[in-house]
Every structure is written in structure tokens, then in C-alpha cells.
């Protein structure tokens, strides 16, 4: 935390304005600019979050607070059910995030080459990102439809399958959710990595070439280290977004069948809105937030160590 009392970054003009404004007013002025945003955050995040934390220690329903119960809600989460919710969320993150990063890195490296129609291809990459998240779930519901869907149609025509598979059956649904998540995350990561690739100084490659480096060595020892800050930032964002993912899965599977795709946000939704148990739902959300804070903290520690 910074303890800074000087208000102006640049003292120019201070003398002139100082004659009119008192010092304390000038010290307050940054807060005037930040006030509307701060108010909005307090209204929609800070207050509801404190409520959620309070509910997590309470018996509460959608109608509101009933009574304080101490840690009962948290203790009540020590069940295999919540364990598997966290495990499913973990699997989603552990499979999807590396999947997104590797796929996007390959895509970005390809699109960074001298291609015909490069502009068009790059423009098309972002299409999945422009679709509202819940409609991604709707489109995938059609794409993976057991009888009509193109996914089955394609696999059958390529003779990779002899009979159509039910992508949304209890045994396959999680895999389908993973594929959808990777698909949706890839455009963002590709565009971010592509931006980083374009800013790698060309001289580095020339120097590496003079030293006799081949394409693979250039990739491993020049490209990847140069874009590492972006790669890790994208990774962190993808981890965060995947932990709190909701719309897409809600629209594709609703967490089913038999809860096999019931990841954190879906489980919270079900507890709060279907079981009317706001206390337990809030405790789940608090645990999710704590996990993400730890992940983010670890990331910034690592980043700082890398930077120094």
C-alpha cells in the first residue's frame, strides 16, 4: 500500500490554482473523480459482498436473514457433494486453461506469419468472443445435439464414429463443457498473444539467427520469454473466469445431467435459488473467492520475483 500525501503528480500550475483553491480541497479532488465509480462498486459489489459474508454465517433464505449459526454453513460444506463441486471446478480449470493457452499460442504464432488473407483470418478469430456467453451455450447445445448436431454428423462422415454419441450424457457432458470453454476462451487469448508477438523486437530474432538458432530454438528462447508476461496475465484471467464461469454452462447443461457439470457458480445458483438455502450458497461463494484471492496473490508474488 502506498502512503502518499502529495496530490499532484506534477506541480505545474499549482501556484496559480493554489491561490483560488484551499489545499485540502485540492487534496480531495482526485476523490471527486473517483467517487462515482467508487459508489457503483460499493453498491453492487461491496455491500452485497458484506451481505454474502454475513449470510455465510447465518441461516438465510431468499427472503433474507433468519438467524446466526456460526460456522455451521462452512462445516456443512464438508461433504462429498461440495468436494466434487470443487473437484469439477478444478478439473475445468486444470484442463481448460492450459488447453486455451496452448491452442491460442499455436493460433497466434500461425496468424503472426506472412499469410494471404491474414487480415480476414485475424478478424474472424474474435467471432466466438462476440457472442453473448449464454448464447454460446445455446449454439453448442445445437452443435452437440445427439441426433441433429453437426459434431456427430462430421464424426460419422469421417468414419471416426459408427453410431452417434450423446455428448450431453452423464459420462460425456463434462467433456463437452470443457470443449466449449476452450473454444470460447481461445479467441481472447489468441488476440492478446498475437498483440504481444507483434511487439517482440525483430532484432532479437536476427541476433538469434546469427547465433545459428533454428525455428524451434527461436520459439523457445526468444519468442516465449518475450511474451511471457502476457502469457501469465492471460493465464491468470482465464483461471479467474473459469472458476466463476456460469452463463455458458447454465445454458448448455444447467449443471446436469446428474450434477456432473455442476461447477462452483452453478452449485451456488442451485443452493440459493432452487434449495432456497442462501446461507450455504454464500459460504460456497466465500470459499470460491478465497481460493481466487490465494491464486491471484501467488501470481503477483511470482510476477514480482520474476521482475526483480
Amino acid at each position: 500500500m502506498e502512503v502518499v500525501k502529495s496530490v499532484y503528480t506534477k506541480p505545474v500550475g499549482e501556484d496559480i490554482r493554489g491561490l483560488k483553491n484551499s489545499t485540502w480541497l485540492r487534496q480531495l479532488s482526485p476523490y471527486f473523480y473517483i467517487l462515482p465509480a467508487g459508489f457503483l462498486f460499493c453498491l453492487i459489489y461491496l455491500y452485497p459482498l458484506t451481505e454474502a459474508i454475513r449470510f455465510s454465517f447465518s441461516k438465510a433464505t431468499l427472503l433474507g436473514f433468519v438467524s446466526y449459526v456460526g460456522f455451521d454453513n462452512y462445516l456443512g460444506l464438508l461433504t462429498p457433494e461440495f468436494g466434487s463441486t470443487l473437484a469439477r471446478t478444478g478439473i475445468l480449470v486444470i484442463v481448460c486453461v492450459p488447453g486455451i493457452i496452448i491452442l491460442s499460442l499455436i493460433g497466434a504464432l500461425l496468424l503472426n506469419q506472412d499469410l494471404k488473407l491474414r487480415g480476414l483470418l485475424r478478424a474472424l478469430v474474435l467471432v466466438p468472443w462476440l457472442i453473448p456467453e449464454n448464447l454460446v451455450g445455446v449454439i453448442w447445445g445445437w452443435f452437440l445435439h445427439p441426433w441433429y448436431g453437426i459434431a456427430n454428423g462430421l464424426l460419422l462422415r469421417l468414419r471416426l464414429l459408427s453410431t452417434p454419441i450423446d455428448f450431453l450424457s452423464p459420462s460425456n457432458a463434462m467433456l463437452s463443457v470443457i470443449m466449449m470453454r476452450i473454444w470460447r476462451g481461445t479467441p481472447f487469448a489468441t488476440v492478446a498473444i498475437l498483440g504481444a508477438l507483434q511487439s517482440v523486437p525483430q532484432e532479437l530474432f536476427e541476433a538469434a539467427e546469427l547465433d545459428g538458432a533454428g525455428p524451434l530454438q527461436k520459439l523457445l528462447f526468444v519468442t516465449i520469454p518475450s511474451i511471457r508476461p502476457i502469457l501469465s496475465a492471460v493465464t491468470l484471467i482465464m483461471v479467474t473466469w473459469t472458476v466463476i464461469i456460469f452463463d455458458m454452462i447454465y445454458a448448455l447443461t444447467g449443471g446436469g445431467p446428474l450434477n456432473v457439470t455442476s461447477v462452483l457458480s452453478i452449485a451456488i445458483y442451485k443452493k440459493a435459488f432452487l434449495s432456497n438455502d442462501l446461507g450455504t450458497a454464500s459460504a460456497m461463494a466465500v470459499i470460491g473467492l478465497i481460493i481466487l484471492l490465494i491464486v491471484n496473490y501467488a501470481y503477483f508474488k511470482l510476477e514480482r520475483r520474476e521482475a526483480s
Partner: protein
């Protein structure tokens, strides 16, 4: 990779990558052009060109009403975000003040909270204010959730504009506000445009917030409207896909108009700091 074969392989790879990203959308296009009775054929290319789907879909859901609503939500959310994010970004770019780091940390934490759990207290609050089923409730809630990225995006943009410009204006007798309005904002128009476009796309994508705060069907956005079609006993996938495709046209158009800006805005707001 300067050989001919290498170049061809790179082209194949790049095209395959783009096809992968378009395939599910392409499958939606096929469905939207196929009569319902022929959906079972699992077509790979559209052969029927049954444009009537795009006529019939208006009868299944009040699509016109819902698209208008989505448009209202998008514009409202974007306007609030710009009005609030611009001064905040200005403060973060031009001032050092105690609490700055706390603010930035808070902005980051907002991204880590499952939105769904916040919506219960927000719902209770909105109910007390008699704001359930009002556009304003969705504007405010969605604007708050979409605020962090535009703030960081605009802060980054303001940082690239030398502060000596607005300070010179202040030396010449402008007040700080005048310096912002007359000097800084005109220079920041490209940044403001990209912030507006990205927030428009975000506003268009709103789903759980209106799902919970809006029960009046006449105020539902198209995202919720299409989702509700899936709850019916028989899903007419050809019509659902036609409606879905139509409803992604506005964000696509915004993207087409200012492709580079949107791409930079979407990504950079998220990655800076």
C-alpha cells in the same frame, strides 16, 4: 520456414484454426437455413436455404421487442460506464493519492466474485427501491460489473497523452474540468470509442442480471428470450438458431465498424495492470 511447403503448411494450419473457431457458428447457420423436418439429415452444407425460418422466428418469441430491449440495455450500460469510468481513469492517470492502490485492488477483486451470489442482495435492494422490472436496475448492476476494464483501458489511454498538455491549459487559466473537456477528451476520442464499443458488446451479452432482476417479459433482452425457448417441450432448433444468429448481428456489426479498436479494447482493458 521460407520454403514453399512450409508456407503451405502454415496456411493450412491458420485456416484450420479459424475453421475450428467458426464451426459451431457455422452449424448454427446451417440449422437456420434448414426446414425443421430436414434437421435430422445432419447437413454439412446448407442445401435448402429455407429463409422462411427468419420469418417464422418472429412468431415464436417477441423478437422485435427483445432486440429493442437488448439495444436499450447496451446503450444504457455503455453510457453509465463511460460517464463513471472516464473521471475514475482520469484520476488514476493524473493524480497520486492515498487509497489509489486500494481502489485498484478492489477493482481487481470484483472480477473474482461469482456474480450470482451478489445478485441476491442486489435483488433485495432493488425490491426495496421498487426497481425490480426497471431498465435502470439492470443498467446500474451491469455497469458496475463492466466497469473495471474500461477504467483500466481509459487510464492506459490517458497515460499515453502527455499531461503537459492539460497542465499547459490550466496554466493558461482553464479550470481542471475545462482542461479535461477541451483538451484531454478530444484527444482521447479513439480510446473513448473503443471503450464504448466494448461496453456495448458487454451490455448486449447481459444474461443473469436481467434474468433475475426482470420478470416482466416485455422488458427481457434477447439473450434471456432465446434461453427461455430451450425450456419448451419441443425445441424448434431451426428457429432458435435463426433467432440466435440474428441476435448476434449487432455486436458483430460494432466489431466490423471498428475491428482493431474493439480487439485492442477487449484485450487490453483486461491485461493492463
Amino acid at each position: 520456414m521460407k520454403t514453399r511447403v512450409g508456407r503451405i503448411l502454415i496456411h493450412i494450419g491458420a485456416i484450420a484454426f479459424v475453421i475450428y473457431l467458426l464451426l459451431p457458428v457455422y452449424s448454427a447457420v446451417i440449422a437456420a437455413l434448414t426446414p425443421e423436418s430436414k434437421l435430422g439429415a445432419q447437413l454439412m452444407i446448407p442445401v435448402y436455404f429455407h429463409w422462411k425460418n427468419f420469418v417464422d422466428m418472429w412468431k415464436v418469441i417477441p423478437l422485435g421487442r427483445q432486440l429493442t430491449n437488448s439495444f436499450i440495455y447496451s446503450i444504457g450500460v455503455s453510457c453509465i460506464i463511460l460517464a463513471v469510468a472516464t473521471p475514475a481513469a482520469y484520476a488514476l492517470s493524473r493524480f497520486k493519492f492515498s487509497g489509489r492502490q486500494v481502489f485498484l485492488f478492489g477493482v481487481m477483486v470484483t472480477q473474482m466474485i461469482p456474480l450470482i451470489i451478489l445478485l441476491v442482495p442486489v435483488f433485495v435492494m432493488a425490491a426495496k427501491l421498487n426497481a425490480i422490472n426497471t431498465y435502470a436496475a439492470v443498467f446500474v448492476t451491469a455497469a458496475a460489473t463492466g466497469l473495471p476494464f474500461p477504467i483500466l483501458l481509459l487510464k492506459g489511454y490517458f497515460d499515453t497523452i502527455s499531461s503537459s498538455l492539460d497542465e499547459a491549459a490550466m496554466v493558461d487559466g482553464c479550470t481542471r474540468l475545462q482542461a479535461i473537456i477541451r483538451i484531454l477528451l478530444p484527444l482521447a476520442v479513439p480510446g473513448l470509442v473503443s471503450a464504448f464499443m466494448t461496453t456495448f458488446i458487454l451490455g448486449w451479452a447481459q444474461f443473469i442480471i436481467p434474468l433475475i432482476l426482470i420478470t416482466d417479459t416485455s422488458k427481457m433482452p434477447v439473450t434471456v428470450g432465446i434461453y427461455r425457448l430451450l425450456g419448451e417441450t419441443t425445441i424448434q432448433w431451426n428457429l432458435v438458431m435463426a433467432a440466435t444468429l440474428l441476435s448476434v448481428v449487432p455486436p458483430m456489426l460494432v466489431y466490423l465498424v471498428a475491428q482493431r479498436r474493439v480487439a485492442a479494447g477487449l484485450v487490453m482493458g483486461a491485461i493492463k495492470e
